[in-house]
Amino acid sequence: MTATNRDKATAPVLELKSIHKAFGGVVAVEDFSLDLHAGEIVALVGDNGAGKSTLVKMISGVHAPTSGSISLDGEAVSFADASVARAHGIEVVYQDLALADQQPVYMNMFLGRETVRGPLKLLDRKAMMRETQALVDELDVRIPSAKAVIRDLSGGQRQGVAIARATHWAKKLILLDEPTAALGVAETAKVEDIVRTLRARNIAILIISHSLDQVFRLSDRICVLRRGVQIGVRETARTDKNEIVSMITGVG
């Protein structure tokens, strides 16, 4: 599956070349390179403090790399801030769920990008509700209604909403930062189903996860980081947990 995608003569959706990031004198990431193709799920694994979140923040425009280049569809880009990355079709699903709890699902779906109508540019709630409903139906996120308030939803439903939002706006790439860290078994399975749906829609996905079981269930390739150093990239089908664990820990 991975092979067919990569055989296409198209530029990778995301291309990181020799990314280096230091905060003051502390090196967070050094010499990191990775290609990410449409319809491919790459897992980013490593211990706490390995630099995974820093990488995600560079790709999403929160931090700028100290050196190295980021290319989207073969074009070098530099993001002044997160909104520029978003404009390029990159969406992030944060582990702490960036949802406004007291607002309905549809307002969260359009948070910061509300649909307006008419010369007075008033909110078009009906249109937002309609689109939200269509999207949650398509992704099979089971929520009572688009009008349901986030606070009344379960953790899995909330994460479903967060992913549905990313899906709605992402044109190319979704970054998932531990999307199931706070979820139970059934809810995790549900979120994983949604992630597979995204792959079928030909979106490139970079997922950070601490669960190796999940990484092996979902990913096409696995990229291992240790203390900011890229240890290696493996095709999921051609490696096993033992190898990945020893790459993460540096033991064995």
Partner: protein, 317 residues
């Protein structure tokens, strides 16, 4: 069962408590004070006229609270704005007085907002300080003297005048509520204010310029307080440093009773209007009942306590 679930979730006591409370207190006074003239058109319209400035302040306060901030200084802004307008109108025409009153309100709001939004000082402390600061400014501006407002156009426009038989203070109230409600409920700005108060981090990563929202709500509060100051000056035909001083409790109570959450993310302009009318009605009724000033304060304090208790009893948690 879906409908049952959503019905349970959409029924929110906090949303209706103000209307039920308004109705209950209205009926109570209507029965007990029927011989004291509570129900006369004159008395009822007086209630609306007297609450006009508080209602305007309440509208600004809804924006501030919804964004997760607080403004304790609006009472002082009312006095400084009213005095500025009155002083300017001693020598210049009405327009200059209006500009001075509103401009001062917006400027103080900007000052509060700058400290809150860009220096990230807690709004509670910032506005507690500016409450005292501008109360002092109001006193020193005119050496505690009150300034008469003799500009007839102004007193008509902001006070005693009427259009098609509707008193101008009522028109100001209606106008401000409509504009406030539409901005709050129907615009992207309103949605961003609410989102900022609900989850500032989520708002930020969603591309909402959170500091700008914080600055804006403090300026809205200052501007509303400035307008309230002009309404006071118009109605009383004078400005004095005491204007707005006693409104802090009333306005906070009106807004909280009206269903605006103290910690942001949820609010209602219409609720604030009804809350403000409720407070005005309460004042009026307690006076008609012949309660002493101290008893009035006790009853009002108790009502506010109940309101806050209901507001903070969050059914979702």
């Amino acid at each position: 069962m879906d409908w049952l679930r959503s019905a349970r979730h959409t029924f929110d006591l906090q949303q209706y408590v103000v209307y039920l409370g308004f109705l209950a207190i209205f009926l109570f006074f209507a029965v007990t004070l029927s011989d004291d003239g509570f129900l006369t058109t004159r008395n009822l319209s007086n209630i609306v006229l007297q609450t006009a400035p508080a209602t305007i302040m309440a509208i600004g306060f809804v924006f501030v609270l919804s964004a997760g901030e607080i403004d304790l200084s609006f009472g002082s802004i009312v006095a400084v704005s009213a005095l500025s307008g009155a002083v300017v109108m001693q020598d210049y025409p009405m327009v200059a007085g209006i500009a001075a009153g509103l401009g001062i309100g917006l400027a103080i709001g900007w000052f509060n907002g700058f400290l809150v939004a860009y220096l990230r000082l807690p709004s509670f402390l910032v506005t507690l300080a500016t409450l005292g600061l501008f109360a002092g400014v109001a006193r020193s501006m005119t050496d505690l003297r009150s300034i008469p407002v003799t500009n007839d156009a102004f007193t008509g426009f902001f006070g005693s005048g009427a259009l098609f038989g509707i008193p101008s203070l009522i028109l100001w109230t209606i106008g401000a509520v409509i504009v406030g409600h539409v901005i709050y409920r129907e615009t992207r700005f309103g949605a961003h204010v609410i989102a900022t108060g609900d989850n500032a981090a989520a708002a930020q990563v969603s591309g909402i310029k959170v500091p700008r929202i914080r600055l804006a709500v403090m300026m809205i509060s200052g501007g509303c307080a400035g307008l309230a100051g002009l309404l006071y000056a118009g109605r009383l035909q004078a400005a004095r440093y005491t204007l707005g001083e006693s409104d802090l409790m009333t306005v906070i109570a009106a807004v909280i009773v009206g269903g605006t959450a103290l910690n942001g993310g949820k609010g209602s302009i219409i609720g604030a209007l009804v809350g403000s009318l409720l407070m005005g009605m309460l004042n009026n009724g307690l006076i008609l009942m012949g309660l002493s000033v101290s008893d009035q304060m006790i009853v009002r304090g108790l009502i506010i306590l109940i309101a806050v208790a209901i507001s903070l009893r969050d059914p979702g948690r």
